[in-house]
Symmetry: C2
Subunit: 332 residues, 2 copies
Amino acid sequence: MKKFLNQVDQMLTESLAGFATAHRELVQVQFEPTFVSRKQKAQNKVVLISGGGSGHEPLHAGYVGKGMLDAACPGQVFTSPTPDQMLAAAEAVHTDKGVLFIVKNYAGDVMNFEMAAEMLPFEHATVLTSDDCAVVNSTYTSGRRGVAGTVIVEKCVGSLAESGADLAACKALGDKINLRTSSIGVALTSCTVPAAGRPTFDITEAEIEMGVGIHGEPGRRREAMRAADAIVTDMVAAIVHDIEAKQLPGAGDILLLVNGLGATPLMELYLIYHAAAEQLTAKGYQVTRSLVGNYTTAIDMAGASITVCLLDQEILKHWDSPVHTAGLRWGC
Amino acid sequence: MKKFLNQVDQMLTESLAGFATAHRELVQVQFEPTFVSRKQKAQNKVVLISGGGSGHEPLHAGYVGKGMLDAACPGQVFTSPTPDQMLAAAEAVHTDKGVLFIVKNYAGDVMNFEMAAEMLPFEHATVLTSDDCAVVNSTYTSGRRGVAGTVIVEKCVGSLAESGADLAACKALGDKINLRTSSIGVALTSCTVPAAGRPTFDITEAEIEMGVGIHGEPGRRREAMRAADAIVTDMVAAIVHDIEAKQLPGAGDILLLVNGLGATPLMELYLIYHAAAEQLTAKGYQVTRSLVGNYTTAIDMAGASITVCLLDQEILKHWDSPVHTAGLRWGC
């Protein structure tokens, strides 16, 4: 394993310290318990707090800022944050309008956010994201995994919260977007967790892992490496099958997110986007909004995921509204 | 080699088509000759045209848009674009205020942009970037290589051009920034050029290439892998030596750019940033502006570069001004 680090157990602290310095006009970091929060504490709004294991950057600390999260609680790499982090974050950022936790559906995250919620002295609710249509139940998960669709939930609910909406409305929008969002990932290589020092799984030059999780969890099956268009065809088919099975209302306008898992060049991500957009258009969808880049990573995995969110006017409005974070920024 | 592609010779075309669709409110792409230009043609300003081999995304197409480039001419991967591309781009985007070419100092790029300049029927000038302090003369270069500092030149000169400044002023600012900017890169792994199908160079788990170029050109020396702080110490020392030798005016305010070469996670880039910012502060510099991420890549190389630009009021003003491109966006 070759990585830029000093000591494995100091890696997160040093990286967060760098993050906080590089974006000091936007965020601040507290340690022990560790959380990242906005530099300018928001007033009179539902506060949004997310978190999870590190290694998925810019998720979640990179989405702290105006129009998105109020705080993020990073655990060690691929390790859930602990309830004291969520409690300290909530204590620091809450106003009188309640706390919304946005949690990716992994057993450890769910358990620790639930424990924090039970101890929380403020009105609160939780949105669980589970957009990964690849598999039901996985290494760390009962049900479906939460992956890159979480970014869309955090962006849009962040916008609604900024407008002064109440806790129930924020939770309802988050749940709606999660229902209307479907993702699937594919790995060309494993990731390497620093503390483990070796790749999470073995994979040959001739293979891909279709439906891989963002921690390197097994997907649907190990398949033969093939042309990008053929890989994308299977990913788009899985997503469309998932979306159509839900018989959701909507005109077919979609947000298409092509997400890099860490080591895949932008040139390849745009090539995947090109194939996915053409195939989705041929199936009757209109790609109304697009996002291409590294938004929910799996450390240094070569691979990518495709996420489709079935838009409606409410989601579109909140997607387009201004956001100012380290990882997403427009309109300000 | 495992990459997301269909046929190697179609990779650039498909990727650019995806790029143009994903950012269709911002840019458009023309093929044969190939160039990317703004959707809204600018009026009454010096137009900025850059280009170079592909594989460094988001450089340069990702920097086309308001406040930065008017057009970018992408060659095949690590292959210079041809003069007909620059001529077609200039014909499409020019106004009556002249054309400024921004060219990284590689022999092929320099030659082809010079040939285009000779045939150009408009007033024109060229800024050559050569911020890489690692080596003088290299595989594809006489003199110093142009690397990630090019982003700072394109951003700031783009801002000045937007304000209506004339060609001489734009060239002067570009030359000034290039003089005040110093970079050095380090590779943990090689990159793999799709058409070659195998890594550009061999490197063991125990080695790093200090001073590597963005095409995998040899750097200063092959060194032992070691702690990130120690690697950064040598990189910062090289940059500070280079800057101090020039005895430039300035108060010591700097822009610090930590750039990923393609496969390095954000978590490691922020750790490098943390070390570099502390070391530069200890040497008397004030890190006034920061940028951390993948801005000038070397396909899928694991590695990073550090760039320092010695700010003055003029550069700072143009760095902070609004920009709206696929790769850099703020203030709009």
